[in-house]
Amino acid sequence: MAIDRVSDSQAFTLLNRRVASLQAAIRDLTDQIGSGQRFTRPEQDPLGAGQVVRYGGELSSLTGFTETTSFGREVLGVEDQALGDAYNIMVRAEEIATQQANGTLSAQDRLASREEVHGLLESLTSTGNTEFLGRRVFAGLAQDVPAPFADPNGAGYSAATAFVGSTQEFSVKIGSTSAERVRITTRGDQVFTTALSALQSLENTLATNGNAAGDLTALAQGRAEIANERTSVGARGAQLDERKTQVAGLTETVTAARSRARDADLVSTISALTQAQTALQAMLQAGSLTLQTSLANLLQF
């Protein structure tokens, strides 16, 4: 039905409605510029809102993975350093044992060597007791607990039973499933006991003037176990590095996706705001001109 007659009430109502609509648009655009977001309520973009919430949860997960892999990498770094020290200790012990087995040491040298081996035993024990942020690296990362390896200077010391710490392996979560975990600890009893026993045996050999040739095999075995574990630590460290890189890439991707879903395009928003302001001014001007044009203004009563 064509409308060819317009009542005054209709004209004012139409003007009011259009002005209100433009003002609402200006309010929304101003809100977008102020918040930097395309929408602040789910009904403004239900799909985008759902995506933003999902991306937020995903980013939170990824942040957790990043922190965990960083922590794991730090722990493995400390382990690698300690195992490197332990390896060097064992190499030195083997040198001493070889010298003694060759019969090239004097009695005084043997005494000095015995003292050095005891020092190596103390050093390896100290290495086994390495702490990181108050946590025992070779005893399940237990916190604020006594040293897991007994003091070799203690009465009745036996390297075979020196370990009294936690044998719990400590893993960290680096992925969304319970299978995606990386062990970041090394059981001290498994990696150091052979080496400690070999050192204690060598020390006894030197003390009793025995032949150290019999200790060489055990020393080599202890060194090999340390070396093997160090290799394992390196591999796990590399795994964490790879995961960290992967997570960083994912974080970047998800952040970009969330930004696309949520963030306002300031250029187009400001442009739209300018258009809306211009339209409002034009509407008000046109309205004032139209509504002022009345027969009453032209008649002389």
Binding site: S7, D8, Q10, R41, G57, G64, Q143, D144, K173
Partner: protein
């Protein structure tokens, strides 16, 4: 033809134009009156008089009627459109409130709090013996519980408010029925003399429109000018011939399964003249009351149920891990037997953190110092698909955000569509029945000129009489 009839014709012309000027003045005065229907004076010739010789001569003019310019079809369509608009506006407004309560886009939000809870679980898995990490986890859990409590409480408050609105709107609609009956009585009395009670009809139409926003109605005109107003759904008569036959009523409905905790809802119905409460759900299937009912008993309840499902799943899964038979707290004590649940409660409204001592959090599954196996299981919950939710916690919140936003958006679109139709029909109605000042001013001039001409007829007749008098 004698001069005296000419004077009479002039006089009647003056009276008729004066009356028409009055109609124009009334139109101008009511230019801003809501629901006013413009009126026009309908002129009619007075019965002719027979001149000597038998010729018929005109005897002047009179106002036969003052008629409203109205299209009943547009009025009926507008009334129906108002019902749809009332319903959809109500749904839109209330769903926007619902969306505001459950909005996860602003900070702090439930998704944000839940993320912090799982972040804290991650930190605990890294440092299972850390008291700081344990305390942080409890704090984050507390924030989740408080947010769930707030949402649950706000949903219940929204439902209670909707119930109050329903009761108030029903009372207002009931007042409309009484006013329609009273106006019907006045119109019938006024129009018994043969004239049209235009202003009363306008008032009645305004009240009818207000009633139509609240509840769908069918209106039939009785021959005496009164109306019969039936509920569009159910067909029961509400008003007929100036009598309220069935009133809109509310009564307490303690058995309503939709009532959220702490709420007592009301049932809508009709009460007949004998005072019997009639349950006529169909009568409230359209209009604002229907929209309010829809959100009160539908959307709000669904949102509450989904929130409870989320809360219950969180409580159950976390407590299952915390009270695992092998789970141990920081002091090596079992948290499985006797059970030391992490959360208490079963719903969003009742969830609370059940432990206050951070040492009671079971991060270990063995007595070995530093064991983090149980903390890892807790951290795993973030990415685990939960059976009752069909997805992860984050996924569920995203789904809920999208669902609620979608519902509110759809309601807004529906309301806009209904509003557009109402606007078009209002424009049609205004185009026909509204007052245009320029038109009225033109009519003013027209009737003023006619008035002046009639006066000139009288003055001319008077001059002729003067001339005659001077001959004497």
């Amino acid at each position: 033809m004698a001069i005296t009839p000419a004077l009479d014709i002039g006089k009647r012309g003056l009276l008729a134009q004066e009356a028409a000027l009055g109609v124009v003045g009334n139109n101008i005065a009511n230019v801003n009156t809501p629901g006013y229907t413009r009126q026009v004076a309908e002129f009619a010739q007075d019965p002719s008089i027979t001149l000597p010789g038998g010729a018929l001569a005109g005897a002047g003019v009179h106002i036969a009627d003052i008629r409203q310019i109205i299209d009943p079809l547009v009025t009926r369509r507008l009334q129906a459109s108002l019902t749809t608009t009332g319903e959809r506006d109500a749904v839109r407004d209330q769903l926007e409130r619902l969306s505001g309560i459950l909005n996860d886009l602003n900070q702090p939000s439930l998704s944000d709090n839940l993320a912090k809870f799982f972040d804290a679980a991650d930190a605990l898995a890294r440092t299972p013996q850390g008291l700081t990490e344990r305390q942080t986890l409890l704090g984050a859990a507390q924030a989740v519980a408080v947010e769930l409590n707030r949402r649950s409480s706000d949903l219940a408050a929204l439902q209670a408010d909707l119930d109050t609105r329903i009761v108030d709107r029903a009372a207002a609609a009931n007042d409309d029925l009484k006013r329609i009956a009273a106006l019907d009585t006045a119109i019938v009395a006024h129009e018994a003399s043969g004239s049209h009670a235009n202003d009363l009809r306008d008032q009645r139409q305004e009240v009818l429109n207000d009633l139509a926003k609240a509840i769908g109605v069918n209106v039939l005109a009785n021959p005496d000018g009164s109306l019969r107003v039936d509920a569009a759904g159910g067909g029961l008569t509400l008003v007929d011939k100036g009598v309220v036959v069935n009133q809109i009523a509310t009564r307490a409905d303690p058995g309503n399964p939709a009532a959220l905790v702490g709420n007592s809802l009301h049932q809508l119905g009709l009460v007949n003249t004998q005072g019997t409460f009639l349950t006529v759900d169909a009568a409230f299937s359209t209009g604002e009351l229907a929209g309010l009912l829809q959100v009160r008993d539908g959307s709000t309840v669904t949102a509450s149920q989904h929130l409870d499902t989320l809360a219950n799943t969180l409580i159950t899964t976390v407590n299952t891990i915390q009270t695992d038979p092998s789970a141990l707290d920081l002091d090596g004590n079992s948290t499985g037997a006797p059970a030391v649940p992490f959360f208490s409660g079963t719903t969003a409204g009742t969830i609370a953190v059940g432990i206050t001592d951070p040492r009671k959090i079971a991060a270990a599954l063995s007595a070995q110092a530093g064991d983090n196996q149980n903390a890892l299981r807790l951290a795993d919950l973030r990415q685990t698909i939960q059976g009752p939710l069909g997805t992860t916690f984050d996924g569920y919140l995203a789904l809920e955000t999208g669902r609620i936003g979608g519902d509110a958006s759809l309601a807004a679109d529906s309301a806009s569509a209904a509003q557009l139709l109402t606007t078009q029909l209002t424009a049609q109605r205004e185009g026909l029945s509204g007052v245009n000042l320029n038109e009225e001013l033109t009519n003013l001039l027209r009737f003023q000129r006619a008035f002046q001409a009639s006066a000139r007829v009288i003055s001319t007749g008077n001059a002729i009489l003067d001339d005659l008098m001077r001959l004497l």
